[in-house]
Structures are given as structure tokens and as C-alpha cells.
């Protein structure tokens, strides 16, 4: 079908996008790799020469590294757990017949469209403020002392804020997947005497497994990069310094570019491990 002429035309049409992305990927990546083996301190003498793998070793051995990994895992894991468990339950609920289904869907998905700085600030001040926040009012109503959320329960607070943004995303995708489930299958199993629980575990869950995997992979990639929510709430204090935030601080705040770049390479490797799995699933889907 495709002629020689249309093939070369296709190549020309693809060229700008491929070229731009190639440049966008390679130039900064090479620069990061280059900086990571240099002693580069822009505010304290500039480029002080070759550093070998020193930066990589120092980034790993710095006292901030392992805590930042733990924080990252807690936040990513916590948000994933909340958004998958409640996402599945919510998706099943929203799939049931009810009045005003469209409106409920809109209510549930809305937080995903709120810009990260807004949701972080609204939660920080209007809900978690220890003096005037709604939670403080609620705690006092029950006679308890208000909790200083962002310092005493900092990671939990961040997980709450980020989950509020990502639960809608998980719900929407899982709902889309549930709606493609053949209802006759469910009916048949019901007639054969399967209870609601076994229908859930033997039909709904296997059907959802692929969508759940995709949600986990996509969210992991975005969650590893969470930035604004920490930037405007704790600024990395109170044990909320993730790997992303640690690198940001090394690079822009303390201007130790060599060290930060080595950290950046670690972050890139970490993200790529997740990405490989995601690409496999997406790639399989392309063949269909």
C-alpha cells in the first residue's frame, strides 16, 4: 500500500519530532553525566577539575542519602497503596447503577485537575494549620489537642495531599477498565452460585490486574518526581526530603553541581527501572 514516495515523505514528517526529542534527551543527559564527574561549584570557584567517581561515592555516603530513599519509598508506597485499594473500591462503586452517576464521577475526578501548588497550600493552611485549620477545629471539638500535621506527622501529611491528587486518577482508569468487563460473565457466575466476594476475587480482580499494573507504573514515575507538594509545604524539612528534593537542594540551593548531578544519574537509573516494565506492557499493547 505504501509507496516508495510516501515512505520518504513519512520520514520527513517524522523528522522534526524525532530530532527535537533526541536533542532534548541527549544534550542535558550528557551534560549531567559530564558534571557528575567534575568538582563543579559555580559559586565557590567554578569547575575545579576531574573528580572521577567521587561524587557518586559521596552522594551515597552522605548522611542525607538513605533517609531520602526511605522517605521516597514511604511516599511512593503510601500513595500507591491508598490509590490502588480505594481506587478499586471506588471504581466498583461508581460502576453500580445509581442516580447522578455523571455528577459523582466529576466530583471524584476533580482533584486531579487542581494544580499541585494549590492543593498543597490549601491542605497545608486551611486543613492542617494547627491553629485555624479545619482539622484543628475538629480536634478541639472532640476535646483533643490539635496536631501540628506538617512537622509531627509530616510524611503522613504529604501522603494525604498527594493521594488526594492521585486517587482520582487511579479511580478513573480502573473505572474505565471495569466498564469493559463483560457483564454476562458476572451474570453467569452469579447463576452458578458465586457469591459477591468470589465474583470479586475470581472475575473482577483478574480482569483489573492489567489496569492496576499500568496505574502502579505510571503513578510511580510521577510520584518519584513529586516536587511542588514538598516545595510549598515543608521545604524538605521534618523528614520529607525525597531523593528528588535532595538533588534539587544540592544543585540549586547549595550549588554543588557535581554532587547533585551524580544524584541525578541515580534518579535517572531508578526511574528507568520502572520505565522498562511500563514500556513492555505498552509495547505489547501496540502489537494488537
Amino acid at each position: 500500500m505504501a509507496t516508495q514516495q510516501s515512505r520518504s515523505a513519512a520520514r520527513v514528517m517524522m523528522a522534526p519530532a524525532v530530532f527535537l526529542l533526541l536533542v532534548w534527551m541527549l544534550v542535558p543527559l550528557c551534560m549531567t553525566l559530564w558534571f557528575s564527574v567534575r568538582n563543579y561549584l559555580p559559586l565557590r570557584g567554578g569547575d575545579l577539575g576531574f573528580a572521577g567517581l567521587n561524587n557518586y561515592a559521596r552522594f551515597l555516603s552522605s548522611s542525607a542519602f538513605w533517609p531520602s530513599i526511605v522517605t521516597t519509598l514511604l511516599i511512593v508506597g503510601g500513595v500507591l497503596l491508598i490509590s490502588i485499594v480505594f481506587g478499586v473500591l471506588l471504581a466498583i462503586l461508581l460502576d453500580q447503577p445509581m442516580w447522578g452517576q455523571g455528577v459523582v464521577r466529576i466530583l471524584v475526578i476533580a482533584p486531579f485537575f487542581v494544580m499541585p501548588t494549590v492543593s498543597a497550600l490549601v491542605w497545608k493552611n486551611m486543613f492542617m494549620d494547627p491553629v485555624n485549620g479545619l482539622f484543628a477545629h475538629l480536634w478541639r471539638f472532640f476535646g483533643a489537642d490539635p496536631v501540628v500535621w506538617l512537622s509531627d506527622a509530616s510524611i503522613f501529611s504529604i501522603i494525604t495531599i498527594v493521594s488526594w491528587q492521585w486517587l482520582p486518577f487511579a479511580t478513573l482508569i480502573l473505572l474505565t477498565a471495569i466498564q469493559s468487563l463483560d457483564s454476562e460473565q458476572l451474570e453467569a457466575s452469579e447463576m452458578d452460585g458465586a457469591g459477591p466476594l468470589s465474583r470479586f476475587f475470581y472475575i473482577t480482580m483478574p480482569h483489573l490486574s492489567r489496569a492496576i499494573t499500568i496505574v502502579i507504573l505510571i503513578q510511580t514515575i510521577f510520584l518519584l518526581a513529586v516536587f511542588a507538594e514538598i516545595f510549598v509545604t515543608t521545604g524538605g524539612a521534618f523528614g520529607t526530603r525525597t531523593l528528588t528534593y535532595l538533588i534539587y537542594q544540592r544543585v540549586l540551593e547549595s550549588q554543588n553541581v557535581g554532587l547533585g548531578s551524580a544524584g541525578g544519574v541515580y534518579a535517572i537509573i531508578l526511574a528507568n527501572i520502572v520505565a522498562i516494565f511500563l514500556m513492555r506492557i505498552v509495547g505489547k499493547n501496540l502489537d494488537k
Binding site: A10, M115, N125, L134, E187, A225, T244, I247, Y248, G264
Partner: protein, 276 residues
């Protein structure tokens, strides 16, 4: 649904779903309500839900004090510009991959996707440095280009999945009737592709509007969009709940409205066609 559902069960579902839905929506609702309160009533204990003195004062103060219009214009330029530029670059690429696929099409698509996986923080300093050296730190055009590049993989992917749904038989029929490549594209394909392009435009506008890593790190005054405007309320202004709410409401309202139209595209766009 062939299964009969009792009204009672339906009522129960409805109550439960609405309850949870309103709970999830509550922070947004509360922000919108608070934006119409006076500062004193905004922090009142017990909180006042509806019975407060409605006022538009906060909106006036926010607009006057912080030059809201400039941030808004920056957001529109950055989100709109990057999306349109992205579409211009992506349409030909997605088009040729969908209609003239080759052995390498799949690899190219997956490679494009992989560039999206690159963590921004890993290349923060190089981009920052390049912006300084090119003299485009805090420059709107630079952000237009950067956000375009960030969203380009998603744009190409979305367009590709839409274009692939256009049946090839229609093209053959047009060719048999003697249509040239140009008229084929202009009169046959374009009308069928417009809905897909529109959805892609919408979703990527939203993503660019809410982007908060590059916009926070590469802007200070001139090019700062609404994400940075809100971040400047971090402290101490953030303690003025009513004004914070008014600023927040203005920043999210346009996107909430657009978002309602793009729920379906969201699934397709962010799962790269893996869930439909």
C-alpha cells in the same frame, strides 16, 4: 445491564457514592466557599458553612495586590503556546506513523515514551545553565519550548492512537476515485482527525497549565505563571485564608471546567492507549 436492580439497592449505591464523592470534592468546595468570606469568618470556629456574609472583596484585593492578570497571561501563553507548538510538530509525525507504518514505528514510539520517563530533576542543572547562557532564564518563550518538549511524547502518542482508528479503506477509496495525496489529506483525513486533535489539545493544555517543576525553577518575575503565583502565597500570606482561597479559585477554575470535558481523553492520554 440485563440484571434487575432493586430501587432500594440503587438508593443505597447513590447515597454511598454521593457521600464519598462529596468528601473527595470537599477541599475544592471549601476553598471556593472560603474565597467569598471575610478573613474573620474564614477562620471562625466552629466553621461557617454557608451562613456567612458573601463578599467579593478578596478577589479585588488579590487582583490588585499581586498583579494577577500578568500571571494569568503567562499561564495562558505558556500552556497554550507549548500545546499548539507541540501539536504542530506532532501531527505530521503521528500521521506518518499511523498511516505509513514501518518496521521501526513501534521502536520510535516506545523511544519517545522513554524520553517522558526521564526524571526532570536529573537534568535540572543543565537546563538551568543553558537558560542562563542563552539569556532566557525567566523567559516565557523558553518555557513554551521546554513544556512543549516535555509533553511532546504524550501528544504524539495520543494523536497516534486517534489516527490509527481512522480506517485505511477510506483512504484507498479516495485514491481509487483519483484523489491526490494533497486532497486526500485535506478533504478526507483532516475532517476525521479533528476530534482527536481537539482532545489532545485539551488534555495537554491542562497538563501544561498545572506543570509545577520547570515553571517554579525557571521563572522568577517576568515569566512566572499561576503555579508560581500560588507558591508565593506559601507564607505568610497563606495564613490569610480568604485571600489564599480567592487566588486558588482563580487559578484552578478555568482548568476544572476544561477538565470536565476531558475525562475520557485523560485515560487514553496518560495510559498511552493501554487502557481504553
Amino acid at each position: 445491564m440485563a440484571r434487575a436492580v432493586t430501587t432500594q439497592r440503587k438508593a443505597l449505591n447513590t447515597a454511598l457514592a454521593w457521600g464519598i464523592g462529596l468528601m473527595i470534592f470537599f477541599p475544592i468546595l471549601w476553598t471556593i466557599l472560603t474565597s467569598f468570606k471575610s478573613e474573620a469568618q474564614a477562620i471562625a470556629n466552629p466553621p461557617i458553612f454557608l451562613g456567612f456574609d458573601w463578599t467579593l472583596e478578596n478577589y479585588g484585593v488579590v487582583m490588585e495586590r499581586s498583579n494577577y492578570a500578568r500571571f494569568l497571561i503567562n499561564s495562558v501563553i505558556i500552556a497554550g503556546g507549548s500545546t499548539i507548538l507541540g501539536i504542530l510538530v506532532a501531527v505530521p509525525a503521528a500521521w506518518s506513523m499511523a498511516f505509513v507504518p514501518s518496521k521501526r514505528t513501534k521502536d520510535i514510539l516506545l523511544w519517545m515514551l522513554s524520553t517522558k520517563m526521564l526524571p526532570a530533576v536529573g537534568v535540572l542543572y543543565p537546563i538551568y545553565l543553558l537558560c542562563i547562557q542563552l539569556g532566557v532564564l525567566d523567559n516565557r518563550l523558553a518555557l513554551v519550548v521546554i513544556l512543549m518538549l516535555i509533553n511532546l511524547p504524550i501528544i504524539v502518542w495520543m494523536l497516534y492512537t486517534y489516527f490509527r482508528e481512522i480506517p485505511g479503506e477510506i483512504l484507498e477509496a479516495a485514491r481509487m476515485d483519483g484523489a491526490s495525496l494533497k486532497s486526500e489529506i485535506l478533504y478526507v483525513l483532516t475532517p476525521m482527525a479533528i476530534p482527536g486533535i481537539a482532545s489532545t489539545l485539551l488534555l495537554n493544555f491542562i497538563l501544561a497549565w498545572n506543570e509545577a517543576f520547570w515553571t517554579l525553577n525557571l521563572t522568577s518575575v517576568d515569566a512566572a505563571p499561576l503555579t508560581a503565583f500560588i507558591a508565593s502565597y506559601s507564607s505568610p500570606e497563606g495564613l490569610f485564608f480568604a485571600k489564599l482561597s480567592a487566588a486558588s479559585t482563580m487559578a484552578i477554575a478555568p482548568i476544572l471546567i476544561l477538565g470536565w470535558f476531558s475525562q475520557k481523553q485523560l485515560v487514553r492520554g496518560l495510559t498511552f492507549g493501554a487502557v481504553k
